[in-house]
Structures are given as structure tokens and as C-alpha cells.
Symmetry: D2
Subunit: 403 residues, 4 copies
């Protein structure tokens, strides 16, 4: 295989940042695209190198390495984190292995990027935060991969809220609607089993919207009142290998769905703003409808991931005769991340969030500062999810978020 | 020139339906337009006559009678319901007087149309239902004015759900977003005082969306978990007369807001579907955003009152390559109410709902059958609102709807 | 009960404006709704009275009078214009009779409102302008019914252009897309015969967009280059009566379509702005898509009749990071015509344009000033249409508009 | 520098396809991203290698090579095409050099990909076609880079038209609206000088929409009637280097704009369908609004590049009550190119068109068949543009396209 530092690096004199990635399914492909592209588009202080990729199936991981451009392949994550030529471990596995890998990687002296949700339980997440704090004293950094903070439109929304453009916050409403479970014959993949996924829509989609809403609002939730539901409780067992969102048709028996299909909750922010959240995989026709709206005393912002190059903004201080929600095409050079890309109107796609995530992480590591969102941020989201589950079990009673 | 029954009536031989209306503000103007127009557009078995209008201020009510075309004016609603030339009493006053007027009008032998919400309390609404049941034995009919059932697009949505087009229901999400209270200096109108309005966004907007969601879904809510908030607790007292949504600037002191500014709740339907509701007057830039979406196993429907001539429909049984939410322009002759109006694409407006409401009521009276929604339907909505308030007071605990 | 002048009039002391209308099909119904409603909603200096309606079929016109609320019915338009109790003649017939009726009505001392297009030829239109000029010396006024100037959103667009908000004009693009001829079996109604309709899409739809574009832009076209097409040249003869846009299925032979199905043209304004126009009845799925966009040096405006309560506005002087096309919901009290209607967000419909047209005409008559658009404006549109036809016949060569 | 064939290739056993690219501005960056990514996402029969990049400024081209991952850099395109390690020459320079480079590259035995427009004149394009035909006999292939055929939504539109889903074509309307010249102080870049750019909006934007409209419609234009305009005839000279769409503020004199600012034309297709086209850089607020609509007897399709993951489709054979333009989110696995990307709803961006273009070209080269669009297709577009200019000079007279 190749001399990765030569072919992948932008300039020879820049120090490399050698990445070792665990997992090569949907997230692995997306992260690979991010690492491969970031140094070609952004000016970076370090040169990302796709050093090694890890997966349990030797043939499959070697094929993935070839496909995605990783210099080496491993079949044991312990071997990966032991490699001298890896500076950063990027964890793209299901949530049940995040804690073990992340803690070990930090112990092995690596920086860590861990996919969301941080863990499958608050306890695991707390372990990870402790490990990250200890590692930080040694100069290692850890970040959780809430990539939707890196959509230019959501980053712009955050900036506008921070600038005070919508004023005192009153309402936040967020949904994350998908529909890939609406067919009762869709098989029982790992995402539908609590032991692997931790929870269902809640951890997969709900974690995203909790993080994103808090990030854009600039404050963390105080408490929630929740309702969850599993519409289809028994599903065919998958007949073969199932990865990511895809699945093969079943041949054989059925198994029990042990996670939620949908989660709804209302919430309060410390500032007095109130919020509603919905995560579901049963919203027929909605493919990736992460929708966020914030209403403040002086304005409003709205975003829809299905139209990710746009941000809606209502300036409430304008004269009523000319006011209205405007569709900002978030492709101008002074929009977040956009100075490195194409001319106005030439939109970006989903995978660019991973390029931007890589960019921000490389800068943080170079500067030795904590990247955002931190493992502590990931833990806090985990606590919100735990409060949601607790409230749902207790007749939706309002449940404060632990701090 | 013609006698009024000739110029106002469609055909001389049709028996009149003589209407007496109480109230002449926003709802009075809208109902007047409905009664004045309905016989000009639809073929009706009876001829609506704008017989008399009633309001406490003599000069104002006479001006309203002239403006809106009512033949006579009264200043005491008791006198109005005592008139021999009134067959139907149309109640357009604030909610605190609904019960008394409606019960008396039914006792006086009149049909009754009562604006929503039916009453300010469950107890009042129960009295009204009892009065309506007794009156019905005498052939009098009573209806509550949830006019948004009469938007052609919502009526079409109801028809499509009833036809089974979206299949088993999974999700309902409804918001009713306005923004006219976002300015803390907006004065304390009657709509912000519990003794007149019963509740705030909940009774005003929430009542609409509870009724509409249940109507389109074809089932009634089982229980709710709710959170309410009053963002601005003290407001300037109005300096002069305040009617409807308008208000003059205050000159003087301030008063306490005694109703909710916003109400959020999640809910369950007996079928297993789950729902979320939000009513607010603080959604900056949203003027009349009653938005309804239903997701079923085979399809979805979505509606937005700010674009009331449209219904979004996703047919989940189509091949994925060509499927998508379609924008049905609800202006075709085979859409509800549309055969009487204009060619395709020539849209209707808000006030047409009152024309359609009048049409449906005239037919029901002529045929001697219960118009929908009945007072019992109005009571059931009241019970949902009561459960919302109860849940909000009890830390959002899930609260079944009384039956 | 009241005398009609009381029930129909807003205030007894106001002088009446007695209307006699010729025609009772689609336009007749729309104008009736306008005259019936205008005095109920707007404060008018005169009280419109629906005095008499005229149509050739005695039974049908009497039914229309009853339906729409006209006090008397005539079967000969000469009798109608001879009536003493008619102050204004409202002409809602097909274009081939406009000139004769309008000239006679003006000669009979009446004010005249004439539906668009003003006439079927430039010559007829010139006769009408001469008659109107003569009549104006006697205090009679004449107006042509380009009702789309009276959509609040288009009136707002005009106001914003006049205020200089979009700056120097560069581009105008307008389409009027319908689809009711897309089926080759749709029968040969009067609108498809040159002798009745003058032209096809061009006179029906093209006249609207020429007038509207010039009105909003604030200048008149200098010349055009055009292409017209008749896609389906032979159609079934209608088997029975055909009115408006509707038609019965044919039983019998076929006949020749003698008008254009579609007309496309580019144009120049004297200011240097350039424009494109398209009128068609073959745009499958487009029901009433009158779309107008203006791009100026400092901003842009866009309108779509299928969403008539909205105006899109881009303020080009804003910082790029927050700029975007905003959707103005044209329902605020300071929007044109809106102070008389409903609260913000409660939209209007197609027919309201006729209410507004009646309002503006009543005021102009009361004040003795020329209402807009005048017959001269109608003639100018006719000259544009003639230039379009001339250019289309001459290989699309650029053809100046006669002045 | 690196051993490019090892690190960039997907599998060692695949034969490489070694690319040499001329130009490194906007198009160079986009093509680089395409070549770098295509083998990571798609299964290709050959392995693209970024062998060498060429530009006149030595330091700049070496920086570009590093940035974009090209193994070598040249400052003379003649040296580039002479390299043994280049199989394919990718021409990303302004139009005035296309013919010379392409003809020489073909003579040197290379495959060629040439950016659009193919050339600055019909004569140059004809030379290129001849060279391509000769080269094809030797097994070399040539393609012109109309990348907008490779948006999944436009490719889907083409497929649906070819499947007969919209039936007999009646209307095509296309615009390509940008606004980067609206400021009269924007400097005189190479794109505004005829000697470099050939034409203005016409060649830059008009070439795209002519090709795209013909591709989706499946037929070539018969003739056009055109109007062009240069709104701002004198502009500041750029004070420094100007690349792509960007420009520095001027310091110094002004120069004459020698190309069109906008071009409007109507057109006829041989099938009888009629079309309208507009290309402009003065549509304030429109950043990249390439909008295409086709109306057929049985349906319609509409696309907007500013929302490139969506295709609007109206199925005219559906019952009217449920018909409407549907928004197909073109992100399903059975949509063109999508099986290699992300799950449904996870949209793509502008640059993906270059990945898809590279994919299609690699397959065509591997299979030894002519890639589409060919140089002959590019010549035909050039002939349309020439007819547009000829018509515009001749008072818009209808001008047939030479064949």
C-alpha cells in the first residue's frame, strides 16, 4: 500500500494528523469522505492522513480500505489504537462499543472523535467524560460527532442567535422525521435492538435534535415531559448481513423490537423558553426532515435538513408591510465554511458536514483547545435522553435533566 | 325596487331561515359575510335572512347593522332571542356569555350556532349539551362554529383519511402559531383575561386544532400531557375600546395576564397513533400558521392555513422513484364546496369557511338532522382543554380525557 | 323588514350607484359578488345597488337575477342601458360585443365598467376610447376590468416599485399558465373561435399579463418579438350549451380552432429593461399560474396568482449574509385594501379582486376622476396584442407598439 | 511527490486512467474534486489518477497541485499533453483556448474532456469535432462538460421523459438567473470580454440551458428568435488578478463590456413544442436559478438548480381530485447515481455533478463507446448560440439552427 503521508498531504512541510477509523459502514464512508476532502478544500495547519481503518471482517475491511483510501486495515480495534502511526481514533461503530473503544484510545494516548450518540447509557458516557478529562491534561482532545452543527445554515443560525438577532427566545420546535420503518416487514436490524443501539429514534434522531436545538439556542434544557411508542413490536429477522439503514428481506422467524419507534417530548429552557421535540421513523414521505424553528422576541429562524442550503429568517424589527420569512441561500462567502467552496448558489450536500467537522477538529487539535461538542456535551445530551426515557416511563411527568 | 326577501333571497318560494346574531366584532363581520353570501353561491333549500343583530352599544350596533346588512338591531340579547322573526340565533360573543345565551335561545325555541370554544368551562358546556339535547327533541338544532372544518383542503383531508388513503394512522402533529402578543407593550385585551376568555392560546387556538385534528383523524383523543406558559405576565391596560385582535396603545397602568400565552401538549389516540399540539401567540412572523400533518402507514397529508387553498399529499404506495409530497391545489370542482365557486386555480379565502358553515347548517336544519360539529363535539373539545390545563398543573403528567 | 335601500345600503343618506350588468356567466357571478360585498366591507361614498341584470335567455337571466341578488332582469342590453334606474353599465360579455355595448351605454349617459380585453381589435378599442373621451366631458367615466391590479400583493408590488425599492428595472418575466385545453377532446367553446374571442390565450391570458406587468413596472412596452402556436387545430363541437371555461362532451362533428393556444414573446421597455411573456392553456398541472417577477438594480419582486396572498421580495441592499427572498404575507392592515378585511394571516381569495375593483371605481366616480385602468389603457394593451400577432405573422421580427 | 497510482487507486489490479488537467481556477477545483472522489464512491473499471495539472503561473500551479492532490505540475499545456503518463486531458480553461488545446491533445493521442462551451465560435467547434472524429477512429474519445446533465434530478427528468411519462411535449421553459453583475462597479473580468469568453450570459449560462433543455426534451431546437442586451457597457478595470466569478475592486480606468449581459429567446422544437429561454447575470437575488419546466400532454416536470435534490412532477393522468405537482426528493437508491451515495434524504451538492461526469466518462472510455455529450453535441449547442446572436442582430427574426 501507499506512502499515505505523501499522496494525501497537501503540503510536505505540514505535520500530519494520522487518523485511524473504527467502522466502515454508512458513517465510515461519510467520515472517510470528510478526511479525504478536508485538506483539499480548507487551509489546515495539519495534514490529515488516512492511516488505518478497522473492522472485524478482514476481507470487507480491506475492501473498504481500498475503496475509501485508507493506507492500512486492521481487524481488531485494539490493534488499531496500538499503532504508532495513528494520532487520532475516529469511532464510527454502533453505540454499544463507543465507551470501550474511546476510553481505551484515550488511554493509548490518542485524540478521539466519537460518533453520536456518545454512548448507550449515561454511565458509559460518564466514564468517557472522565477519560477525556484525564487525557486532556496530557494534551489529548476528544470530540463527539454531532455533525449537524456543521451544516452552514445551522452554524449561521447559531451565529445569528448569538448576535442577538432574534432577541429573547420564546419557542423552539424541532422534529426529526424519517420513514424507513413504516413497512412492518422491514427487518429487525441492529438499530432496532436495545442491546446494540441503546434506544431507537430517540438515540439515533433525538440525540441529533437535542444537541442541535441546544447548540443553536445557546442554552441547555432544564427538563422534559415525554411520550415514546413502539408501533410495530415484532419484525422479521434479517436473512443476511444488515448494515446502516439498509436491510435484506427476511428468511425465517421474527424478533422483538426493543427500542422506541418514536419519541415526543416537550421541554423547558432555563431562560423561560419552551420547546417541543419529535423523533420518528414512521413519518411516511419524510426522508430526513430535521426541522428546527426558533421564535424570539425580535425574530425567528427556521431550518429543514431536506433543504440544507437554506435558512429561513424573519426579522421582527422590520416594518410589517415588508416583513416576511426570507429564504437565505446559505452559499455566500461570508457564511460559515463557505469561503472555501463554490460561488453563491452552488449548494453543498450532506457529506460536507463531515468535511467541516474534520476541519474544526484539526484546528482545535493544532491549537490545543477543546473541540466542540465535547464529550461533556455528549454526556449532557445523554442525560436529556435518559430523562426522556424516565419521563416516558412515569406517565410523562416533567423530569428535570440531571446536572 | 324589490322587497328585501326578493333581493336577498334566491327564489321567492323558498322558506326563509331568519338569523339573529349576537356580537358584531371580528366574528360578527365574518358570520355576516357568510350569511349574506351563502344563498348567492350555493343552492339552498332555505333562504337565509339577516333579520336582526344585537350588541350592547346602541349606536355601534346600528352602524354594524347598516354596514353588514342586518334588517334590525337590538341592544339586549334577551330581546333578540324573543323576536318572532328570528329562527336561528348565531352567537359571536366572547366565550363567557356563550352558555347563558345559547341555553336561553334554545329555551326560546331557536336553532343555535355558537362560536368556538363552546364555553369557558366544562360545566357550562355540559349545560349547553343538555339544553341542546332537550331542544333537539323539539326539532331545534345546535352547532358549534369550528369553521376550519370547512376549509376545502381540510374537508378533503378528512375525506381522504376516511377513504383509507393514508392507512393506519401513526402520527398527528398540529400547531397553531400566531405572533400578535410578541410585543410586551401590546395591551391587556379581553382575550388575555381568564374571566372573559376562559383561557388564552389554549381556548382560542388550541380549541381549533384539537377539533380539527380529531375531525380529520376520525377519532377522539384519549389523553394528554401538557405544558403551558405565560411569557409576559403584566401588560398595559388598554386606553380605549379594544375589539377582536386589535388594540389601542395604553394610557395608564398595567394589569395581570391571567391566561396562558402558549400551550404545548402531546397526546394519544385510542388507535395507537400519537400526536403533538402547540398553540401560541408568540411565534414571531407566523401570522396564522395552523399546520396539520398526519402520517399513516400508506401515506401522509399536510395542511397550512397560511396557504389554505393547498393540501399536501404523499401517496406511500407509489414506487419510490416517483413518489413525493404533492401540492394539491384544492380548487377543482370535485373538491369539497368547490363546485359552487370559481374555475380551478382561482382560490378562496378565510371568510369562505363561514359561507360553507352556513351552507352545511342550512341543509342540516332543512333535513332535520344534527349538524356537525354538535354541542357534544364542542363539549368534548372542552374536556380536552380541561385535561390540558389539569396536566399542566400536575407537572405534565399524562391525563386521560373524561368521557 | 327593511326597504332594500336599507338592507343593501350601508347608510341611508348615501346616494346610490345603481348598476346594470350585461352577462351572467363566470364574470357575471364574480362581478355580482363584488358589487354585493363592497359596501359591506369598505366605507364608500356611494351605495352600490344591484339594479338590473341582462342576458338573452329570459329564464336563465331571471334565475341569475334571483341567485345573485339583482332587482330586475332584462333580455336586451339596449333595454338595460335605457333604464332610468341604472347609473353604471357593467359589461361582462365575450369580447365581440364589448365595443357596441360600451359605446351605446356611454351614449346613453352611463358610466361603464368593461371586462378585459377591452375589445377584439384595435379599431373597436379606438372607438371605445373616443366614446369614453366624449363621455368624460359630460362627467361619465369608463374603466376596463383588469382585476389583477387589485390583488393586494400586486398592488403592493406596484407601490414598492413606485417607491424605488427595487431601483432601476432590468428584467420583467411573466407567465400565465393554465391547462384546461391539454385534452384534445375538450370541445370547441366560444373562447376557441376568433369571431367571438378575438384571440386565444393571447387575449384571455396575455392581456392580463401585459397590463399587470406594465402596471407594476410603471412603464409601457416599446416593442415585442412573438411566436404563437395552435397545438390542436381541430376539436369536437360542443354538444350543448357551453359557458365560461366549462364544456359538455361533444356529440357530433369537429370544428377548427381559429385562435392561438399559446403565445410567447420577448419585449423591450423604454427604460432599457427587457421582458418575457408567456400565455398558454397547455401547461399541464398549472391551473392559474400568473407569475410575475421583476429584477431591479436594488431588489426583486415575485408574485404567483396560485398563492395570491403572498409577495416575494428581495432587498438587494441588505448584507449578503442575511439577504434572501422573503415571503411577505400580504394580509397586514397597511397593505393595500387590507384594512377593511380580516386580521393578519387570514387570506383573501380570487373574487376579492372584484370587490376591490368596485371599491376603486365607486371612489373615482364619486370624486369625478378617471378610474384606472382607463379605456385608453385598455386600448394600449390591445395594441400590444396586435403587435404580438403582427410579429408572430412576420417570423417573430421585433415589432414596435403603435402609440 | 507521491506515487499517485497507489494511493489514489481503488484496487491495485485496475488499470489506471491518468488525467492531466489544464486550468486550476473554479472549474479546475471542481474537476479535481470529481476525479479525486469518483473512485472512492463508484465501482469503476479503471482507476482515475490525478497525474498532472497545468497553469501558466508556476508557483500558483504548484500550489494548486498540492492543494488538489495532483502528482505533477506543468506551466505549458503543450508539455502536459506530451507527457507519457497522461491518458486523458481535461480542459478547464476559458473558451478561447479550448479548440487549440483539444485539437492538439487529440493529435497527441489523448482522450479529452473539455469544459463548456465547447468553443468560442462555430468554426472552432467544427475543427474540434473533426479532430474528435479522426481521433475516435484511433480509439480516443472526447466529451464536453455539460455537467448539469449529471444532477440526479435532471437525469431523472430525462429518464421520465424518455419513458413517456409526460407524453407529447408542448412547452419547455428555461431560465438561468444569476445576479453577480448587478453592481455597476463590479470590474471587467475576462468573462466580460468577447475575445476571451466568446459571449456573456449566452455562452456561460445560455449554453448550459440549451444543452440541458435539449437533453431532457430528447430533441434539438429547430430555430430561435432572440433579444440580447448589455445593461452596463463600461466597467472598472480589475486592479489585480481576477479568477472565476470573483474579482478585486478596481484601481484605475474603465473598459468596455463586449459581451451580452442577458439573452432572451423563444424557440421551436421539430415536434411542434415551443420553448422560451433566458440567461442573465442581473436577476437580483437569484444566485444560481437554473429553472427548467416541461409541459407534456400527460404531465409536467420542473427543476430548480437552487434546490438540486428535488424534481417536481405532475402526473396528468391522475384523477383531478388528488393530482398536484409532487416534490420528488431525488435521493432514493433507484434514482440516477444515487445507489453509490447516502441514505434517502441525505442530499448531494453542486460538485457531485463532476463526480458523476467523471464516472460516466470512465465507463465510456473503458467500453470504448462515445461518451455523451459528444463534441458534436457541443457544436450543435454552439450553432444554437450562433443563431441566437444572429437573430438578435437581425431584429429578433426567427433564425433556423444550421445542421
Amino acid at each position: 500500500m501507499a506512502q499515505p503521508q505523501q499522496s494525501e498531504g497537501a503540503e510536505p512541510e505540514k505535520p500530519p494528523l494520522r487518523v485511524g477509523m473504527v467502522g466502515y459502514a454508512f458513517m465510515g464512508a461519510a467520515h472517510s469522505q470528510g478526511w479525504r476532502t478536508v485538506g483539499r478544500v480548507f487551509d489546515l495547519p495539519r495534514r490529515p492522513v488516512l492511516a488505518a481503518i478497522c473492522g472485524r471482517d478482514g476481507a470487507a475491511v480491506r475492501a473498504a480500505a481500498d475503496r475509501h483510501g485508507w493506507a492500512a486495515a486492521e481487524t481488531d480495534w485494539r490493534a488499531l489504537i496500538a499503532r504508532d502511526d495513528v494520532d487520532l481514533v475516529d469511532i464510527c461503530t454502533p453505540g454499544d462499543s463507543h465507551a470501550e473503544i474511546a476510553v481505551a484510545a484515550l488511554a493509548a494516548g490518542k485524540h478521539v472523535l466519537c460518533e453520536k450518540p456518545l454512548a448507550n447509557s449515561v454511565e458509559e458516557a460518564e466514564d468517557m467524560v472522565r477519560a477525556a478529562e484525564t487525557a486532556q491534561e496530557r494534551g489529548q482532545l476528544a470530540m463527539v460527532g454531532f455533525n449537524y452543527r456543521r451544516v452552514p445554515a445551522t452554524a449561521l443560525a447559531r451565529r445569528m442567535v448569538a448576535e442577538g438577532r432574534i432577541g429573547r427566545l420564546r419557542h423552539v420546535r424541532v422534529t426529526y422525521l424519517q420513514d424507513w420503518l413504516v413497512d412492518p416487514q422491514f427487518p429487525l436490524t441492529w438499530r432496532l435492538r436495545r442491546e446494540h443501539a441503546g434506544s431507537g429514534s430517540l438515540g439515533d434522531l433525538g440525540a441529533h435534535i437535542v444537541d442541535l436545538a441546544q447548540y443553536v439556542a445557546g442554552e441547555q434544557l432544564a427538563g422534559v415531559s415525554a411520550l415514546t411508542e413502539t408501533f410495530v413490536r415484532e419484525r422479521p429477522l434479517p436473512g443476511g448481513a444488515v448494515q446502516g439503514l439498509s436491510a435484506v428481506s427476511a428468511d425465517g422467524g421474527t424478533g422483538r423490537v426493543t427500542v422506541d419507534d418514536a419519541a415526543l417530548f416537550t421541554a423547558r429552557f432555563p431562560s423561560g423558553a419552551i420547546a417541543s421535540f419529535e423523533a420518528t421513523r414512521y413519518a411516511t414521505g419524510r426522508k430526513n426532515a430535521l426541522r428546527l424553528e426558533l421564535n424570539g422576541e425580535n425574530g425567528s429562524l427556521a431550518f429543514d435538513l431536506e433543504r440544507l442550503n437554506e435558512l429561513s429568517y424573519h426579522d421582527g424589527t422590520e416594518p410589517g408591510a415588508h416583513a416576511g420569512f426570507r429564504r437565505i441561500l446559505v452559499t455566500e462567502p461570508d457564511h460559515p465554511y463557505l469561503d472555501a467552496w463554490w460561488p453563491p448558489g452552488h449548494g453543498l450536500g450532506y457529506e460536507h458536514t463531515f468535511v467541516h467537522q474534520a476541519r474544526d477538529l484539526v484546528h482545535a487539535i493544532h491549537e490545543g483547545r477543546q473541540p466542540e461538542p465535547s464529550f461533556a456535551d455528549g454526556l449532557q445530551v445523554q442525560r436529556v435522553l435518559a430523562a426522556v426515557e424516565e419521563s416516558a416511563e412515569k406517565n410523562s411527568v416533567y423530569t428535570p435533566i440531571a446536572v
